[in-house]
């Protein structure tokens, strides 16, 4: 298992700096990566404990690379959840809630979502990425409305855009659902994957 990346410079500093270096106009045909970087200063995300990606899926690995490039603490995982939780996440969460995110097979996301409830965390964003059998992929996303409003821009390179979407995911009172189909020719998948963000619950009181 890859080590949690840490550095003297905070992730937020990095994201803001990289965003400042971009001047890509929104909705002007820029890549998803450029789009997301541009948005990041106004959408600072969580300080993630880990951003997990499925080591068996090339699409998830691409997601992980992009997450690492954004200085997110990207870590590859297998499909067995017991050790990940028992030996690692349990100990971190004993110290208090800590956000995690990922692009994994669905059952890994499901298990972590349930386990995270015990420490007051909630599933904040979930994206289902399902192959249609002809190279195209259907994306069904549920999460903060502001961010999902721009989700169609994931079309160009959805793994890259997804890394940035989860990276800047913020709690929001309004949740929305969006669904779209991305064209063949980019990163293909042969089984459904789920992108997700699990973060501390916002007090309702």
């Amino acid at each position: 298992m890859a080590k949690h990346q840490t550095g003297a410079r905070s992730r937020r500093d990095f994201l803001q700096a990289s965003a400042a270096a971009f001047a890509v106009p929104l909705l002007a045909g820029g890549s998803a990566a450029a789009w997301a970087d541009t948005l990041l200063p106004s959408l600072p995300g969580h300080d993630f404990y880990k951003v997990l990606f499925d080591r068996e899926s090339p699409a998830a690995v691409a997601f992980g690379r992009r997450a690492a490039a954004l200085q997110l603490p990207a870590v590859e995982v297998g499909r067995e959840v017991t050790s990940l939780w028992y030996d690692d996440l349990y100990h971190r969460w004993q110290k208090g809630p800590a956000a995690i995110a990922g692009l994994t097979v669905p059952h890994v996301a499901f298990c972590l979502q349930i386990l995270a409830r015990d420490v007051g965390m909630r599933l904040m964003y979930r994206g289902e990425h399902s192959p249609l059998g002809d190279g195209r992929i259907r994306h069904r996303l549920t999460g903060p409305a502001d961010e999902l409003a721009r989700a169609a821009l994931l079309d160009a390179d959805w793994t890259q855009g997804t890394a940035q979407l989860v990276g800047c995911c913020q709690p929001a009172p309004e949740h929305a659902e969006v669904e779209f189909i991305s064209a063949a020719g980019h990163v293909a998948i042969d089984e459904p994957l789920v992108s997700w963000v699990i973060a501390p619950r916002v007090s309702q009181s």
Binding site: R79, E80, V81, T82, S83, W85, Y86, Y90, V105, P106, H107, F110, C111, I114, L115, R117, D118, R122, E128, S130, P131, L132, G133, R138, H175, D190, E191, P192, R201, S203, Q204, S205
Partner: protein, 541 residues
């Protein structure tokens, strides 16, 4: 998420007042009424997801102490707001943290999670309802205690919750019946009073987790699959850590050898010499010959034997596990070979593995961790896609059907035949065959059953799953094969099958329920037990 319903018969004002008083007991952060929070109290595996049949909570509360539970129960009585206690709320396939009756307030006991005692000399534990198998295992490992727990699968469930729903594990008979291996419980009664069972009823007794009965009529069973109180502590007997585990395989040549194989191994298991055996048949492997055999109805013995002759190989395989000191379990295995070999000509025997303690996920390799008392989440591989799923389909869960049949070859085959006939009746793919094995959840019976997968995005498939599940319950009941647990959607129907003498058992329970819980606030509808005020409507408008 659909709008949270009000409790049946409770006004919006009374509900608001109750919520306000609950907040004063557990704190505002631990009374859940928002859509985001109540999402956690939906059944994620539900086959009625998003339909009017889905069971939804009105609110949820999460106390940390027995005193808080008592106060909550008293407030619930005041406003007649029904409570649905859950422990970890992970009873997946049977409803998870969702209530049987929509409009119930889920009493989430997850934060009552203290391991109160583990004694590795007297071999017991005393825990609160929020303690999971993982929690108890970690407690034991960190203190290097020499006891084993019998874990449910998956291991994130609550010991108390699993036992109270008659859940099971996978090691020796005395331990894998989790309710049967409990010893002593503490209960908040429907009026808010605190009660202890067994020796716990005697002040100053130091034998609460050693002696089950105390004196007089036992009442512990009233708190399982039922609505007579909120269990706040429960004791469990634990096994001494076995020095070794030996796994072995027996194969028999003829289809008709199964009965003798069952009988011979029954003597071994019922003598306390082994863990539960597994029975399977190599002839169950899918293929065109098997499809042809099952195409025209349940095959005759002659057809089965002709199919076997064509396929060749052994007819049945028994997988055995022996737990204990090396010299003992090697002796038991020798005894098993002698006994079975004398009864069944042509039986073959293989020792497949031998493991010395300590048993860890690393040391057991690909073995089922639950067989070694190791909590795990491996079962979620079951949620992987099926070969016949469309590329974009992702199943979301399953509901489980397990029905009790006699521990005989005839009983086993009759169970599978009932499933086969039901599959044909409702137009499901036919997968039941005369080569299906049992599972052995409880010591003296077989279980026949399987999981029916569910898809949130495919309501058509879910409707078919419900039709299938309903037909199975009815057909099993007609054959005398009752379910030992049921999904929250179908507990009334499942309970109705236990109908001897005009449902005298359930009517007696109702008599007790009305006396003990006159306001009907604890778990209305759980396993078909409704309080008088909701008995006719079953909580529906």
């Amino acid at each position: 998420m659909p709008k949270a319903p009000l409790p049946p018969g409770v006004s919006a004002q009374d509900f608001a007042n109750a919520i306000r008083e609950f907040k004063s007991v557990v704190g505002p952060d631990w009374v859940f009424t928002s859509e985001q929070d109540l999402e956690l109290y939906r059944d994620p595996y539900s086959h009625v997801w998003g339909t009017p049949e889905e069971r939804l909570a009105a609110a949820a509360l999460s106390p940390t102490t027995v005193e808080q539970v008592q106060q909550i129960v008293r407030i619930a009585n005041k406003y007649k707001t029904p409570l649905f206690p859950v422990s970890a709320g992970r009873n997946l396939a049977y409803g998870a943290a969702a209530p049987v009756m929509s409009g119930s307030i889920v009493l989430d006991l997850k934060r009552m999670n203290k391991v109160l005692a583990v004694d590795d000399k007297r071999h017991f534990a005393l825990v609160e309802p929020g303690v999971t198998y993982f929690d108890l295992y970690r407690h034991i490992q960190e203190r290097k205690l020499k006891v084993w727990i019998d874990v449910a699968n998956p291991g994130w469930g609550s010991l108390v919750g699993n036992a109270l729903d008659h859940g099971i594990g996978h090691t020796y008979s005395p331990y894998r019946d989790h309710f049967g291996s409990h010893c002593g419980m503490e209960v908040v009664l429907p009026n808010g009073e605190l009660m202890r069972t067994g020796m716990g009823a005697m002040p100053n007794a130091d034998t609460w987790q050693d002696m089950k009965y105390g004196q007089g009529a036992g009442v512990e069973g009233l708190f399982a699959q039922s609505g007579f109180g909120v269990v706040t502590k429960m004791g469990f007997w634990l096994a001494p850590e076995p020095e070794a585990v030996l796994t072995a395989r027996v194969q028999v040549p003829r289809y008709g050898d199964l009965q003798a194989l069952i009988e011979e191994f029954d003597c071994i298991e019922n003598s306390g010499l082994s863990g539960p055996p597994g029975f399977s048949s190599p002839l169950a492997a899918p293929g065109p010959d098997l499809t042809a055999l099952m195409a025209e109805g349940w095959p005759s013995l002659q057809q089965i034997e002709a199919y076997h002759a064509k396929r060749g190989g052994p007819a049945w395989t028994l997988s055995a596990r022996f737990y204990g000191p090396e010299e003992t379990i090697r002796g038991t295995w020798s005894y098993a070979k002698r006994r079975i070999g004398a009864a069944i000509s042509g039986a073959t025997f293989d020792e497949t593995a031998f493991y010395r303690a300590p048993h860890t996920l690393e040391s057991i390799g690909k073995e089922n961790a639950s067989f070694f008392g190791l909590p795990n989440l491996d079962t979620f591989y079951a949620l992987r896609r099926r070969p016949d799923d469309k590329p974009d389909e992702q199943l979301d869960g399953h509901i489980d059907f397990w029905t009790t049949v006699p521990r005989t070859a005839a009983g086993l085959h009759a169970g599978h035949r009932m499933v086969y006939e039901t599959q044909r009746q409702v137009g499901m793919p036919v997968v039941a065959t005369p080569f299906g094995g049992p599972v052995i959840f409880f010591a003296r019976s077989f279980m026949v059953g399987f999981s029916i997968v569910t898809y949130r995005t495919r309501p058509d498939k879910n409707r078919k799953a419900m039709e299938y599940y309903t037909a199975l319950i009815k057909n099993a009941g007609a054959a005398g094969f009752g379910m030992y647990r049921a999904n929250i959607s179908s507990q009334d129907l499942s309970a109705e099958q236990y109908s001897f003498n005009n449902h005298s058992l359930q009517r007696f329970r109702e008599l007790l329920k009305d006396a003990a819980d006159p306001n009907g606030i604890i778990s209305p509808g759980r396993y078909g037990l409704w309080p008088a005020r909701l008995r006719q409507t079953k909580g529906r408008a």
